[in-house]
């Protein structure tokens, strides 16, 4: 007899009497929310309530659990305890899980308040954004938990089984007006530049670049002009005279000459890097002119040496050199012809300029070669795009033919379902078949070419 329903109708009353105990059960299970009364939260609604089964309620809420706690190790847990113990533990686990969710959302909202406070200065007020990794309606749900009456979801007015056909429908969540999040759009927009297909414009641009770079970089080096030190030397002279007039020498002279004596004159000679000055000084020392004729040293020393000593730059050397040369020419010791025509060949700046030009040339060559390589790849990529387009076209055509074939087949035997096998191929008309074959072959060929081209361009 399979008619259980009928045969058990008599016991239905018994069933309902069993289930009438339910009300007691629910009462028992709601005791976990008792702490709500123990901690009256009069701080408006702001203060959340965190559910916890108090240990003092153990015997009342968790009878088996507390009984086991009070047992000795020998008595332990028995098989008969399992069912009730499981329920007690589940109650604890559920409470615990709800609590940690509430705590988490609370911490997140604190974070949000802090963040808002930080950004407050700039913007007046921003709409609160939904918390990450959290469904927007979740919090609402927990608020309901607090209030005692738990509304789990919005009521569906129509009877609707969201799990029909073994596929859960995702639209269960109540619709919310979420602030528009266009971050992803922004991101893709910024990336677009790098991912977009290569266009003809790019080719033109590349060609221009290559042409520009192929030209020789022959920047003429201008003839060397008047040395700046010539102009400067006048200034320096004026300055020196000024210094001399202030009679700073009065103090510096004795110390300087004593220093000279201490260090030896050769050391002094070395302080002049310019060859001409060195030679002159060395000659003077050799002939004891410096020591013997204080006037010479006086004339040369105070200002020049001081300057040299303090700055010790090439500028002063050159100035000195020039002055010496000038005076030598004036006094007829040297001829104008004897003087070197221009700055000596070891011109650092010229060397540097030449080096830079060489570098520029090398870089340019490298650029051109890279650009040409790129140009080749782009040519291939353009071809790839063409093939891709062609393939798409063929794909569409193939789909069309497929649909046509389906239609034709349905017309032939309408009771067959549209996804059945192509069993009556021969009657479908040769022209379709031929067309389909042609298309498929074309597809294969294009696809092969596309793969090759893609590999080639991706290897760059």
């Amino acid at each position: 007899m399979y008619n259980y329903k009928k045969s058990y109708n008599s016991s239905k009353n018994g069933a309902s009497s069993y289930y009438s105990n339910k009300s007691k059960d629910t009462k028992l299970s709601t005791t976990r929310f008792r702490p709500d009364e123990t901690y009256p939260m009069d701080n408006e609604n702001r203060t959340p309530f965190f559910p916890v089964v108090k240990q003092s309620d153990n015997t009342q809420c968790l009878p088996r659990y507390s009984a086991i706690l009070n047992r000795s190790l020998e008595d332990g847990v028995g098989m008969e305890d399992l069912d009730q113990l499981q329920q007690d533990l589940e109650k604890l686990l559920s409470t615990c899980a709800v609590r940690s969710r509430l705590l988490k959302s609370e911490v997140e909202s604190i974070d949000k308040i802090e963040e808002r406070r930080k950004t407050k200065k700039g913007k007046p007020y921003e709409k609160p954004q939904p918390l990450k990794r959290k469904r927007p309606d979740e919090k609402v749900r927990y608020k309901d938990v607090k209030n005692g009456s738990r509304i789990i979801k919005s009521r569906h007015t129509l009877p609707k089984n969201s799990f029909v056909n073994d596929l859960p429908i995702e639209n269960e969540l109540p619709k919310m007006t979420l602030p528009k999040n266009d971050t992803s759009d922004k991101f893709w927009l910024s990336v677009e530049v790098f991912c977009a297909d290569v266009a003809k414009d790019d080719v033109v641009f590349l060609d221009d670049l290559i042409r520009e770079c192929s030209q020789d970089v022959d920047i003429p080096i201008p003839e060397i002009g008047q040395h700046y030190s010539i102009e400067w030397s006048e200034d320096v002279l004026g300055q020196e005279r000024g210094i001399g007039n202030i009679q700073r020498t009065a103090k510096s002279k004795p110390t300087f000459s004593s220093e000279l004596k201490k260090n030896g004159l050769n050391a002094m000679v070395d302080t002049f890097s310019s060859p001409l000055t060195q030679r002159l000084l060395a000659a003077l020392i050799e002939e004891n002119v410096v020591t013997g004729n204080p006037t010479v040293t006086d004339k040369l020393k105070p200002s020049d040496f001081c300057l040299t000593k303090t700055t010790n730059g090439p500028r002063n050397d050159t100035c000195m050199d020039r002055r010496l040369r000038k005076e030598l020419v004036e006094q007829g010791i040297l001829d104008v012809e004897d003087l070197p025509k221009s700055i000596p060949p070891d011109d650092d700046i010229l060397v540097e300029i030449k080096k830079c030009m060489q570098e520029l040339k090398t870089v340019n060559e490298k650029n051109v070669s890279e650009l040409t390589k790129l140009r080749k790849v782009i040519a291939k990529d353009l071809r790839r795009q063409e093939v891709k387009e062609a393939l798409e076209k063929v794909d569409n055509e193939a789909m069309d033919v497929y649909n046509k074939m389906l239609l034709a087949k349905q017309k032939q035997n309408p009771q067959l379902d549209p996804f059945g096998k192509l069993s009556c191929k021969q009657s479908l008309g040769v022209e379709y078949e031929e067309e389909a074959n042609k298309l498929i072959q074309q597809q294969v060929r294009l696809h092969k070419e596309l793969t090759e081209l893609t590999n080639a361009t991706m290897l760059f």
Binding site: K5, Y8, N43, Q55, E90, R133, N161, E172
Partner: protein
């Protein structure tokens, strides 16, 4: 003591029970900490001015409480796992005993009790934060390629002998033939199997949930109100069409259902309670071959 499969199983069970005892004590310690943490929070919150500079302090108190809750949760999960381990061991022994030919003789009344308690002790799924309920948890259907294991309970559409059409009955899987996609199932009521076992195609067999969904944390895994479902009529072993009237509110609650019943004037039975385990998504009306 000989090392029979039974004695080994018994030993394993004993081990589990022992560690369960220890776990209960560990849990109690953790609960002490958690409760203290919550008390601190409540003290904090009951102070009148929750001025802004205290926010960070509150946050750290919350975070501590969160950590404590997590630790407690972990231990609780462990303990519950032990319980389900024990049940699995027992169930395996039962299946093996049956395969060995030891017929269990359970009367109908006892069966009803067992069905009730097995529904209550079905493992409870409490999701971790951000976790989705797995298939066969509450109302979540099985994956398309899923097949029920031997010993699992299923709803099976079988032809009733006396021309009463066909019925979804509660049955137990005996075997599954992968090649034919066919189940061999036993009616849960012993006396019905004396004739022969039912061999059914996969589409006439619906596995029962393997886990209960926790309404407090995973309400999405429950059938929404007004859903038409297939449910075990109380005190019977047959599934009938019903409408969900009320959802379970706690982990121990059952669905409140209105069964389609034309013996009542409005076409529906008064509210009846059915455990999560015996409430299934309705299958499209299918003809028997």
């Amino acid at each position: 003591m000989p090392f029979t499969a039974d004695s080994i199983a018994a030993q394993q069970v004993q081990e589990c029970l022992k560690s369960l005892y220890r776990l209960v004590h560990d849990i109690e310690k953790k609960r002490q900490q958690s409760e203290n943490g919550i008390n601190t929070i409540n003290k904090f919150n009951s102070q009148d001015e929750r001025s802004s500079f205290m926010q960070t302090d509150i946050k750290s108190v919350y975070k501590t409480a969160m950590l404590q809750a997590e630790q407690e949760e972990e231990l609780l999960r462990k303990a519950l796992q032990k319980i389900s381990d024990i049940r699995n061991i027992k169930n395996e022994r039962r299946i093996q005993a049956r395969n060995a030919g030891n017929k269990e003789t359970i009367r109908r009344g006892a069966w009803m009790k067992m069905l009730l308690s097995s529904a209550q002790t079905l493992p409870l799924f409490v999701s971790k934060i951000g976790e989705k309920p797995p298939p066969l948890c509450g109302a979540v259907p099985a994956e398309p390629n899923y097949f029920a294991k031997v010993g699992d309970m299923v709803a099976a559409l079988v032809k009733v002998a006396e021309g009463d059409g066909d019925n979804w009955i509660l049955a137990e899987v005996v075997s599954y033939n992968h090649a034919l996609n066919k189940y061999e199932v036993d009616d849960i009521l012993e006396e019905q199997n004396q004739k022969k076992r039912h061999v059914l195609s996969k589409k006439y067999v619906v596995p029962l949930p393997l886990m209960r969904a926790n309404p407090e944390t995973d309400p999405t895994a429950l059938f929404p109100e007004r859903t038409v479902v297939m449910a075990l009529y109380p005190q019977t072993t047959c599934f009938y069409k019903a409408v969900v009237n009320k959802l379970p509110q706690t982990h121990t609650d059952e669905y409140e259902l209105l069964f389609e019943d034309f013996s009542y004037t409005n076409g529906y039975s008064p509210p009846l309670y059915v455990a999560q385990r015996y409430v299934l998504a309705i299958k499209q009306k299918t003809r028997l071959p």
